[in-house]
Amino acid sequence: MAVAASTATPERVIVPKPKWRPLESERNLAWLLLLPTMVLLGLFIAYPFMRGLMLSVTDSRVGVPGEFVGLDNFRKLAVDPIFHAVVWNTCLYTLVTTIFKLALGLWLALLLNRTFKFKAFTRAFILLPFIIPTVLSTFAWKWMFDPTFSVLNWMLYQTGMIRVAINWLGDGDLAMLSIIIVNIWRGVPFFAISLLAGLQTISPDLNEAAAIDGARPWQRFWHITWPLLLPVTMVVVLFSVIQTFADFQIVYVMTGGGPANATHLFATYAYQLGVGTGLLSQGAAVSLAMFPILLLIVIAQLLYIRRVEVR
């Protein structure tokens, strides 16, 4: 301390011993605050994940601690025709529903972005499919698709579009169509409300300036609204893809994976193997097989989102 030494008169300097306040250190406080979260997530996410990995390389069944069998479970899956169908079904289900949810959700968001009477009210009602417990609302759909008492068939018949009853859930392709419809129905509100929030952050000045520059409504959407909405859209799609890929409730209630395994997804097949028939290790292998695919989707999307945001 060159300056302190150079002062002519020796001065009285108190260097107080600071009181012991461990939580004034950002580091200590941060770890303390994170402790409960890390304990819970460690116990019920990280640990089960490791357990799942270990299970999937044994041949355990309910009540029978298994032996190490290496990658046998995955080898079995590789030649399991049902598993092949599961992979195909899940991809188809995810792709088709995501496209429709995005298109319809965006359309609905654009409609809601106008000013009209009862707007808040309408918005509140639109979210209902997303709020109401999925299992319960899916039962309403199952009842609407009932082979004998289907109200949808009645409507189609009354309007002259069909002559004989459609067995919605009895045919593989129709069953797939049915669960896709229900998933779209449940997912559109989430897309619409999230995209609406995104739309509301776009300054109306931009659209007005473009209109003055002579852009038609469609051009305005394509050159202004859509690019500005893209970051939000990507995140919404990311969430939806993951949820849809891992979907369980809708299929479990509507078809249980049938008819003849035509609508099994990863989760329902894992449930059937692991809980239904007690083949824990095989069930664990099926659900873990989701992980690398999900990881790829997440990484791809996050990279894309980052690129969009940088631009």
Binding site: M1, A2, V3, A4, E11, R12, V13, I14, V15, P16, P18, K19, R21, E24
Partner: protein, 365 residues
């Protein structure tokens, strides 16, 4: 109330050296203003005194206590922030009482102090309101009130007026000055506005790039700036500069470039003698320029071309070009000139400044 000593203080953020050895002794009751452009380290210095930033190197003393290791709560200081930082969920009363509650004052004493501060600041009628119901000026007063109820050792101000509109800013400036005269609490005030610095400060500290450029009373900085940076920063409109070469001319010196050729005033001839043949900067404030009436020696005039004449009523600001340099001259409101007109400007030789061409330090007689 106390002195504040800042001794050889440094602040490093990762690889950015924000404060590069600042030393400053602030006397009891003194109002010191740190002024400089954004990124000059003035706010970082203030935050180190407050305890909101750790001190990488050096020492800060409040009174005779080294406070480096003390958390802000133990430093007995008060701070007013640029955005006021009023607690939005508390009433004005609770905002002002919070610091006292934290220090476990009893209820009656809290009420007495808050009422007293509210009285001084004229916000007695708003004590039950929430901050969002107040105007900008009222919020500013609450922020001040929160600081004064505690009767702390030191007040710290971080650009407290810059969120106010121009008119209110002038008014609050005066009130702040009155408040300080009344309370006499030691204060450190950070601003980027040199007018605020000049009007409020007992002493002003000009900073740039993490270093102190000059410390002094406002008029000292104005009249005898230590270097070209301070000269240009203090004063509005800013000091005019022209890059020149110093040359010998008989017994005297001349400073010249391709547009002007002026005589070096006598009191500067000796110190500038060492600069002969070297570049320097000539500086002159706008109010030290006037239209030449022919009575001046030609060594104290130079030619310029009028570009714009700004009529301010009490004066006219002439924007002129003078070779490669633009200059501003503050002239008598009766002067009539047209854009494009060639004029001769005369300068007051006693108030001419010269700065070293490389170090930019002022050359003084």
């Amino acid at each position: 109330m106390a002195t504040v000593s800042i001794r050889e203080v440094h602040k490093h953020y990762d690889d950015f050296h924000a404060v590069k050895g600042v030393s400053l002794e602030i006397k009891d009751h003194e109002f010191v203003v740190l002024v400089g452009p954004s990124g000059c380290g003035k706010t970082t210095t203030l935050r180190m005194v407050a305890g909101l930033e750790t001190i990488t190197e050096g020492r800060v003393l409040i009174g005779d206590t080294v406070v480096n290791e003390l958390p802000p709560m133990d430093r007995d200081i008060a701070m007013v922030f640029q955005n006021y930082a009023l607690y939005p969920h508390m009433s004005v009363y609770d905002n002002m009482a919070f610091g006292l509650k934290m220090r476990k004052f009893d209820k009656a004493e809290i009420k007495r102090r808050v009422d007293n501060a509210a009285d001084i600041l004229g916000i007695k009628d708003h004590l039950h309101r929430k901050p969002r119901q107040l105007s900008g000026g009222q919020r500013q007063r609450v922020a001040l009130g929160r600081a004064i109820v505690r009767n702390p050792q030191v007040f710290l101000f971080d650009e407290p007026l810059s969120n106010l509109d121009a008119k209110l800013r002038v008014q609050m400036r005066v009130e702040l000055k009155k408040l300080h005269q009344r309370l006499g609490t030691t204060a450190i005030y950070v601003t980027h506005d040199q007018v605020e610095a000049m009007t409020l400060g007992d002493r002003v500290v000009v900073m740039k790039d993490g270093l102190i450029q000059q410390v002094g009373e406002p008029l000292d900085l104005y009249n005898t700036p230590a270097n070209k940076y301070v000269a240009g920063f203090i004063g509005s409109p800013a000091m005019n500069f022209a890059d020149v070469i110093i040359a010998q001319n008989g017994s005297g010196l001349v400073a010249a470039n391709n547009a002007i050729k002026i005589g070096v005033p006598e009191h500067l001839t000796a110190p500038l003698g060492a600069h002969v043949g070297m570049p320097a900067t000539f500086g002159i404030r706008p109010e030290d320029l006037r239209i030449a009436d022919g009575s001046e020696p030609s060594t104290q005039t130079f030619e310029a071309v009028v570009e714009v004449a700004e009529q301010l009523g009490s004066e006219i600001l002439l924007d002129v070009s003078c070779g490669p340099n633009s200059m501003v001259a503050s002239v008598d409101p009766t002067v009539r000139v047209k854009p494009g007109e060639k004029i001769r400007l005369a300068f007051n030789p006693k108030r001419a400044h010269f700065f070293d061409g490389t170090t930019e330090a002022a050359v003084r007689g």
